[in-house]
């Protein structure tokens, strides 16, 4: 079984300041981890993914995340927030089950709403 906990339901930052969205996971198997972003009234867009290669993963729009197995964390960061980053962010885990397939069974966190102030 796997689960995801996003530690903050809301994060508010000023434009130009760093962003940190926290995510902890648990998984019975080696996990693959993702961050998705959902802008208001839009579908979800993949920001970045970790699938067992480099532990520091770079994504779109300047976001990156670091997989830390010892801390079971996959926090999302960005050095400088932009107004267009305001959205809801979802941390997602899927097990890399022995045999190579997890049948795409993603488990989503509860979401973190990011607000960016001018």
């Amino acid at each position: 079984a796997q689960s995801v906990t996003q530690l903050d339901s809301h994060v508010s930052v000023s434009e130009g300041t760093p962003v940190l969205l926290r995510c902890n996971y648990s998984s019975s198997y080696s996990p693959s981890l993702f961050w998705y972003v959902q802008h208001p009234n839009k579908g979800l867009q993949l920001l970045l993914k970790y699938t067992s290669a480099a532990t520091l993963v770079k994504g779109i729009n300047g976001f990156e995340a670091e997989f830390k197995k010892s801390e079971t964390s996959f926090h999302l960061t960005k050095p400088s927030a932009h107004m267009s980053d305001a959205a809801e962010y979802f941390c997602v885990v899927t097990p890399r089950v022995a045999g190579g397939t997890s049948y795409g069974k993603l488990t989503f966190g509860q979401g973190t709403i990011l607000t960016v102030h001018p």
């Binding site: 693959s32 993702f34 998705y36 009234n41 839009k42 579908g43 979800l44 867009q45 993949l46 993914k49 699938t51 809801e88 979802f90 899927t94 190579g100 397939t101 997890s102 049948y103 795409g104 069974k105 993603l106 989503f108 509860q110 979401g111």
Partner: protein, 113 residues
């Protein structure tokens, strides 16, 4: 061009009615999914089809019946709608059954009154 499209975008209906939501992807993907996002924004997978074959069927009431006429389409039919069915339903697709990257549609907001 919209990669994953859903119709309708909004659906308001009364309890007891039967309704369908349609999903189409033009990405040439083999696998498609339905997710439900509840009022607390929690997203949970409902079904997954790979090349028209059902491969994931989570604990969903049998009032919900997915149908995949071909691998580019995955429709969701809901019988005897209940208040608790009110949610946003997202369709998604991925290239293969074990591709981790899923592409999501814009969602269908279903309101049952």
């Amino acid at each position: 061009d919209t990669a994953v499209s859903q119709t309708p975008k909004y659906l308001v209906t009364q309890m007891g009615n039967d309704k369908s939501i349609k999903c189409e992807q033009n990405l040439g993907h083999d696998t498609m999914y339905w997710y439900k996002q509840d009022s607390k924004k929690f997203l949970k997978i409902m079904f997954s089809y790979n090349n028209k074959e059902l491969i994931i069927n989570e604990t969903v009431p049998n009032r919900f019946s997915p149908k995949s006429p071909d691998k580019a389409h995955l429709n969701l039919h809901i019988n005897s709608l209940e208040l608790g069915d009110s949610a946003v339903y997202f369709c998604a697709s991925s290239q293969w059954v074990d591709s981790y990257e899923q592409y999501f549609g814009p969602g269908t907001r279903l309101t049952v009154t």
